[in-house]
Symmetry: C2
């Protein structure tokens, strides 16, 4: 096992202009792990309530996701509910119930601690740091964050940034964290805060990778029938980190290719609710779309 | 001479969050010709009023722009005035005075009529058709249009589409013309209307090229200090067509490279008011940024 993720396992209730689904399997770690799974085993650190069906964890295991780090706590699992506008870019959070995640104290299993590649999915920065504290000299640590922590836990977040190699964020968060409107300048500011690279996601407009010795831009894969964008960012991170962990290399050419893999796994994610569309795809499907996307951007 | 453009020569009054400039040299044909100039001579078909200074036409000629097709009519030149919001994406037109352009009846000089590459910048579709009527079997005809003509002259526009090879439009216009929200599906619909390729421009998010045998996506060049976006679309078209005319080839690989050249000339355009920033750049500057953009998108 080369890859560990810590984050949420959740039930999502999602309204789109075309459908409404209740209690869909979701959460940042869930999406990440399903995207990373086809590249090799991924270890999951998270917490669920007693309402989380065993079948879900069983299906995780069948996809090469190690659940030794998933704690079952007394109470209910994390629940989120949201609604998307017809343009898919506007999302309204209708309800968030942290439940057992409110007191999440990540416990990294002993056999995960030497794993070289680590992804800290969005959580309170202090919780992300607690998980990182338990890892022994990982080769690459990448984290996600959100506007809420930039707003109310900025010092903790800045502390975390000094300890990680890569940060994944969306354009709005990049502007909010740095106070810089131009995305490239904003990304460069983030580098001054600690990470050696930052990925700025722009949804349907693709993503930038900006690092000390790399600058790369990639459009999104043009999905014609979006079903549900929930989890696209975490699925991006899963494909990105899954590929890196599988090749055990972090040179800039590898990071560029990892961006393509992340874009591909995100594109599968949005073609179904929850992890439905991702769970149906294996490495061969990913590779086919990888080649298609490469030809889409090649001169 | 391999390239002819018909369109407007104008005076623009532009307000940005940082500056206001009055009577800046502008117009679709002006921007196009300044972007195409470094690739070879471009012939200009348009009309100006008696208020249009000779020095402007003189400076056009010094940049390899042939002005034999520029008619001087009694009256005032076309004038446009607009204001940009801080995000640069929102533009308010404050005033449009067609003046001599209201009765524009394009007269293509005899020595332009055999020219193989033609760009019909945004104008009433019937006027674009009149210019095209005067060309003898061009190899490649590309046109631009705008929401106004989709709204009030749709039949004329559909007639024009059956006669051209390529259409350049922005994302909003593509959706408006086809009633299709998804950009790729929208582009495919346009192909059914006649053109063999369509370029969908997404401003700071880059552009798509969709054709019968080509699909290509390119991000914008990341300009850190935008001064004035006016004319970026026409400057894109100028670099795109200028390169194609210079290599006299329209295979899909050429179209892909032409997209990069168009993106580069558009990026120079937005770094100054009017054609100020473009006029300072020669082919060597374009080539340097071409290489930079290629490395920015290469795996």
């Amino acid at each position: 096992m080369n890859l560990v993720v810590t984050g949420t396992l959740a039930f999502d209730t999602i309204e789109t202009p075309f459908a409404k689904k209740e209690d869909v399997l979701g959460g940042s770690a869930t999406h990440f792990a399903h995207a990373a799974g086809p590249f090799g085993t991924v270890g999951l650190v998270g917490v669920v309530g007693t309402d989380f069906p065993d079948e879900h964890l069983k299906s995780f295991r069948e996809r090469g996701i190690d659940c030794a780090g998933v704690e079952v706590a007394e109470g209910k699992s994390f629940r989120w509910s949201g609604r998307y506008e017809a343009d898919w870019n506007t999302r309204h959070t209708l309800d968030t119930q942290l439940n057992v995640f409110a007191d999440f104290d990540p416990k990294v299993p002993a056999n995960y601690r030497d794993v070289p590649y680590v992804f800290l999915a969005n959580a309170e920065p202090a919780v992300q740091s607690k998980a990182l504290d338990q890892m022994k000299r990982p080769k690459l640590v990448v984290a996600d964050t959100m506007n809420l922590w930039i707003d109310i836990k900025k010092d903790d977040l800045l502390g975390l940034l000094r300890r990680i190699d890569g940060l994944v964020m969306n354009d709005e968060e990049a502007r909010m964290l740095t106070g810089e409107n131009n995305l490239i300048r904003s990304a460069r500011r983030v580098l001054e805060m600690g990470p050696s690279f930052v990925i700025v996601k722009k949804g349907e407009h693709g993503a930038y990778l900006v690092g000390k010795d790399v600058m790369f831009s990639l459009p999104a894969y043009p999905v014609e029938d979006v079903v549900d964008p929930t989890g696209a960012g975490d699925s991006f991170a899963g494909g990105f980190m899954g590929y890196i962990a599988s090749v055990q290399n972090t040179q800039s050419q590898t990071l560029r290719r990892a961006m393509v893999y992340g874009t591909v796994t995100a594109s599968f994610c949005v073609q179904g609710f929850g992890v439905d569309a991702l769970a149906d795809r294996g490495r061969a499907d990913i590779e086919e779309r990888f080649n298609e996307l490469v030809s889409f951007v090649s001169l």
